[in-house]
């Protein structure tokens, strides 16, 4: 039973990753602890108050002029709409038996889900340019006057969090992510929902509060090095370049919905790794008497239960640590605002884990689409015969390269997170001593989370994980 379930894991296709070797794991884990305490001591009390969260940025004239032209949105929109159309058409019409021969699977799980998230962290909010639903709406509104019929109730980003959770379930718990027609159906349904939502409740209101990916990439792009400022009419006033990560310090949005969204980002990413480990297999087997009799629903049930439990555990631990932070900070602060602000400082750890986890997926499996282009609908076509015999290159994915890339990424992300949390503590708790004290619980949380990331990467994977 278990091996056949294993095949269904993780989008589609298999992974070739080897777990990080033991010695590298221990070096990285040890270094993370040392560097954390060194950083805190070295930077202790460097800046407090508002100064702590000010960061350098430089106006980029050419990016500003480029941003003011319609070209980036236009080109990005066309790519986004073409990708969406590819997912829906090839998902329904292309090969169902061999998902690795269906472009829909590559576009959704590798190019969109793994690569676009990583690239947006590296260069800035690509989703703002690529969002196909915003592009369709904008194109339509040129010809038809679109006015929202209703006002969106003040729900925060709860709807986006719920939709993001549903997407995570499709990927990780449904067991159907490697079925192209289901992926296409989900894309079509989400397209209808998003377009209807924008028409009924207004474009920006829907995108900013209900469209899961706009909210997600909004958070990811805070890590990125590009910052755009807009005037009152929404036109780009200036585009700045800033160091990676510091955007997470800028005007943090406040609310439990925001905190939960970030925790969901962390837990869904971790869960993707957790289900490939023997620990999960043990949990799975232990609960077999409950889920096996449920048939195909049992798989979905046990997985979703695991994801919910992991999310709740992450949330509880985070809240407990934040209470300790507030206690040691010993200054009267707005609790919700402070917790929301600190949640953002965990984002670098999640992003680097995402990049490390998906490294070889993006480097090797992404190439699998090249031979598929010869016959994307599995109809016996020979559109590009020269590509048909292409075999993926492993040049950048030898295990030793992957391990070093993973460890360097994890350590770098950890350093950025610790530094950001330190600056945030300086801003909130105002004095060096209080900031320093408040940092210890946060530091333990970050070390623990980074250890979890490393442990998952170093755990022997099970079939298909």
């Amino acid at each position: 039973m278990i091996p056949s379930i294993g095949i269904l894991l993780h989008g589609f296709g298999q992974r070739y990753d080897l777990p990080i070797s033991r010695y590298l794991y221990f070096v990285a884990a040890g270094f993370v602890v040392v560097v954390s305490f060194v950083l805190v001591v070295v930077f202790a009390g460097e800046k407090v108050g508002e100064r702590a969260v000010q960061y350098p940025r430089r106006a980029s004239r050419w990016l500003t002029s480029l941003g003011r032209t319609p070209w980036p949105r236009g080109v990005g929109g066309v790519i986004g709409v073409l990708a969406l159309a590819t997912v829906i058409v090839t998902g329904f019409v292309g090969s169902q038996k061999h998902p690795e021969l269906n472009p829909a699977e590559y576009v959704v799980w590798i190019y969109f889900w793994a690569a676009t998230v990583i690239l947006s962290g590296l260069v800035g909010n690509l989703w703002y340019l690529l969002n196909p639903w915003a592009a369709i709406y904008d194109a339509a509104s040129r010809f038809i006057p679109l006015r929202p019929a209703f006002r969106l109730p003040a729900l925060g980003v709860w709807p986006a969090a719920a939709l993001y959770f549903s997407f995570a379930c499709l990927e990780l718990t449904s067991g159907m992510s490697n079925r192209p027609s289901i992926v296409a159906l989900a894309a079509l349904a989400y397209t209808c929902l998003t377009l209807a939502g924008m028409v009924l409740f207004g474009r920006d209101a829907w995108l900013e509060r209900c469209e899961a990916f706009t909210v997600l990439f909004g958070i990811v792009a805070r890590f990125g090095p590009v910052e755009a400022e807009r005037d009152e009419s929404g036109r780009i006033a200036a585009v700045y370049i800033r160091p990676w990560g510091v955007g997470l310090l800028k005007d943090p949005p406040v609310g439990w919905d925001r905190v939960l969204f970030i925790i969901l980002m962390l837990s869904t990413l971790a869960f993707d790794g957790v289900i490939a480990t023997p620990a999960w297999q043990d949990f799975d087997i232990a609960l077999e008497p409950i889920w096996l009799p449920m048939g195909s629903m049992g798989f979905f049930f046990i997985r979703t239960l695991g994801l919910v439990l992991l999310t709740v555990a992450f949330l509880l631990v985070f809240i407990a640590v934040m209470h300790a932070v507030l206690y040691f900070g010993s200054r009267k602060v707005d609790r919700k605002a402070t917790i929301s602000a600190f949640a953002l400082t965990l984002v670098p750890i999640a992003l680097v884990y995402n990049a490390a986890h998906n490294y070889s997926y993006v480097m090797v499996q992404s190439q699998g689409i090249i031979p598929v282009l010869n016959d994307p609908l599995a109809s016996g076509w020979h559109l590009l015969p020269s590509l048909a015999g292409y075999t993926p290159s492993f040049a950048l994915a030898q295990a030793s390269t992957v391990w070093y890339a993973q460890v360097v990424l994890i350590v770098l992300g950890h350093i950025i997170a610790v530094y950001l949390a330190h600056l945030r503590a300086g801003e909130r708790f105002r004095t060096m001593q209080r900031a320093l004290l408040s940092q210890y619980p946060m530091l333990i949380l970050m070390v623990a989370y980074t250890w979890i990331s490393l442990t998952i990467l170093a755990a022997p994977t099970t079939t298909g994980g």
Partner: protein, 119 residues
């Protein structure tokens, strides 16, 4: 950032790089050996042994004897073993890719085992 702070951070980073370098050097594998693995596939559904291992650079020969006609496929290396019932099919290749590569009964996508190539 003051010079002292830069020096402390730089020292920690250099120490990490040195320790990692020494450990990596000490743990270098010694590939390049000739490895021969004989496996048996039964009823297009199981393979013994199912977990095959090699080191990067080894010259690996896999011989498969199956009791059913059909293709056994080694993914990643993309090597098809066209089995005929009762006969042995062999392929020799250099293990130039590291990773965990699945071996499948191709027509039914049945998982048979894997070849793990370590650095």
């Amino acid at each position: 950032m003051s010079r002292a702070r830069i020096a402390i951070v730089a020292t920690v980073v250099v120490a990490f790089v040195i320790v990692a370098g020494v450990l990596v050097y000490a743990n270098q594998s010694h590939g390049g050996q000739k490895v021969t693995i004989a496996v048996t596939v039964t009823k297009a559904s199981s393979m013994t042994p199912s977990d095959l291992t090699a080191h990067h650079g080894d010259i690996v020969t896999i011989s498969i004897k199956s009791d059913t006609d059909g293709e056994v496929h080694l993914h990643g290396y993309d090597i098809p073993f066209d089995c005929v019932a009762g006969q042995t099919v062999s392929h020799t290749f250099t293990a130039d890719k590291t990773g965990d590569f699945e071996i499948e009964w191709e027509s039914a996508s049945t998982h048979l085992g894997h070849l793990v190539v370590t650095p």
